[in-house]
């Protein structure tokens, strides 16, 4: 059984922005984002529970030909 995810922390948001994305943000901005991110991730958790077995993503790779 998966353990419940702890709430996202301001420091984590700042770390992702700075270290992974290379676009540092202030602590105040990160704090204001934490609520948004929590609610967005809550929405996304519903997608993870959908019956998506054998369902391919809508993006399909198409090889590019020389004349394109």
């Amino acid at each position: 059984m998966a353990s419940k995810r702890p709430p996202i922390r301001t420091k984590t948001i700042q770390a992702v922005a700075t270290e992974y994305v290379g676009q540092p943000i202030s602590a105040a901005r990160a704090k204001s984002y934490s609520g948004h991110i929590e609610s967005i991730w809550e929405m996304f958790s519903g997608l993870r529970k959908l019956p998506l077995k054998d369902v391919e993503p809508a993006i399909v790779f198409r090889p590019t030909t020389a004349d394109e």
Binding site: V16, P57, E68
Partner: protein
């Protein structure tokens, strides 16, 4: 000829083609209307009066010598400021692009020009099309022709407001989650988000590559059909452009609705809309029944997850597109758009992929559903145009964000890529209410025929905003 600004696109084209009026008179009339009314709604961000007048003279000379090219020859148009226009500033409503002058125009701009339409300028948009209100723009909020204290809706707000305010008969828009249909509904006009791939995206600033749909906005379905005809068709410069042949949309308009099976979703759309809007949309559906259509209760499986999937895709794709510019100087973006772009940095790749898988699931379900019914019908919006700066709205005792409410009924059909037409169908609180008709992929002709049949027996699409009727 007086009152040219009251004519729709093909009425005006017919008047020009027959010599009843000239293209120069049509352009001058629209420019006068813009001068008189643009400060009320802030729809135009650039007006190219001199160039438009010069082009109108060329059109008049051509028509005098060779006759009209077709139904749109000499008809004025303006483009959402997301569309590249050669030699004319294209800002995307953002300080980031305030000095950008493209060296080429969008494919659609060229097609409309080749049909003889005369560009008058560029239209306000929500910054980079990243919002459904158009109250965030480098040029200031775009306001609603029906009530200047309310939003035009967005992101194609300038397109909606300019047509609603009778400054123009037609405009282009683009729709990623509802950005043609929302301002069309708010401003009391007609708009079409076609099937993904029907109209090429080349030369239009992207918001989300996999969800962006260019399309026409006008006063009537008849005008929309003629504009769609010109805008549609394969374009090698757009990798998502469809190779399917383009039907003769205007010729198919008069199919009628006798025997048409209209699916009415039993949740998500009507039950979460304002009660008065529900009544008006049901009244509109009764008109279809009177014309011989059948209303059939349907369920769209998993529809409740559409907002989550759309959000994952907006956030991921928009942030990827803007990453370099955002890193260079984030202060050049508005606070709202910058917040969305920052939030996109926290979307996991797997959630983006799940969202794209959800699109397949939803698309398959809709395709199956659209074998048992011919089209679907919903309210376009669950609310009327909100007030400028309003962040929350109460619907049936439930408080929710304005953005979420505005997008709820429209964005599922961006995810599925199927066509959706919106037509005015009433007034609530003195503001326009709109009906949305959804068809199967590349079946625009069926929803256009249904919308046209509705507009032949109703006159909501001819209603003028109070400010114009009081003049």
């Amino acid at each position: 000829m007086n009152d040219l600004h009251k004519l729709g696109a093909i009425q005006l084209g017919a008047a020009i083609g027959s010599g009843e009026c000239s293209a120069s008179e049509a352009v001058d009339t629209c420019l006068r209307q813009i001068k008189r009314n643009n400060d009320k709604v802030n729809a135009f961000v650039t007006v190219i009066a001199g160039e438009a007048r010069a082009n109108a003279q060329l059109v008049d000379a051509e028509i005098a010598a060779k006759g009209s090219r077709g139904p749109l020859h000499g008809v004025p148009i303006a483009h959402k400021d997301l569309y590249y226009t050669e030699g004319v500033r294209t800002t995307a409503g953002s300080k980031v692009q305030e000095d950008f002058i493209p060296e080429f125009g969008a494919t659609v701009v060229a097609r409309l020009r080749d049909a003889g339409m005369i560009m008058l300028g560029k239209l306000n948009t929500h910054e980079f099309a990243y919002g459904p209100t158009n109250d965030t723009s480098h040029f200031g909020a775009c306001r609603n022709p029906w009530n200047f204290e309310r939003v035009s809706g967005g992101s194609s707000g300038g397109s909606g407001a300019s047509i609603g305010m009778r400054m123009l008969p037609a405009a282009t828009g683009s729709d990623t989650g509802g950005s043609i249909r929302i301002p069309a509904a708010c401003c009391g006009i007609t708009g079409l988000k076609p099937t993904y791939g029907r109209i090429p995206r080349d030369g239009i600033f992207p918001l989300c590559w996999t969800m962006d749909h260019p399309g026409p906005m006008a006063r009537s379905v008849e005008d929309i059909a003629v504009l769609l005809q010109v805008m549609s068709g394969f374009d090698a410069k757009d990798p998502s452009s469809s190779l399917l042949p383009v039907p003769d949309y205007p010729r198919l308009l008069n199919k009628g609705v006798s025997g048409l099976r209209i699916g009415i979703p039993n949740r998500h759309f009507f039950d979460q809309s304002d009660a008065e809007i529900n009544v008006l949309v049901h009244d509109a559906l009764t008109e279809f029944e009177k014309m011989g259509a059948h209303l059939i209760d349907v369920d769209i499986e998993h529809i409740e997850h559409a907002s989550a999937a759309a959000m994952a895709i907006y956030l991921a794709e928009a942030t990827a597109y803007h990453e370099n510019q955002l890193g260079e100087d984030p202060t050049r973006y508005s606070e709202q758009v910058r917040t969305f772009l920052d939030l996109g940095n926290h979307v996991l790749a797997k959630d983006y992929i799940h969202a794209q898988r959800y699109r397949t699931l939803l698309g398959q379900h809709l395709a199956t559903l659209l074998t048992s019914v011919d089209i679907l019908a919903t309210p376009t919006l669950p609310i009327v145009a909100p007030k400028l700066g309003q962040s929350d709205v109460e619907i049936r005792g439930h408080l929710e964000g304005v953005f979420a409410a505005l997008l709820r009924n429209t964005e599922p059909f961006n995810l599925a890529g199927v066509p959706a037409l919106v037509v005015p169908c009433g007034l609530s609180k003195l503001m326009p209410v709109s009906l949305q008709l959804i068809g199967g992929a590349f079946d625009e002709s069926r929803i256009l025929a249904a919308g046209h049949a509705f507009q032949r027996v109703t006159d909501w699409h001819t209603n003028l905003p109070p400010y114009l009727t009081e003049l």
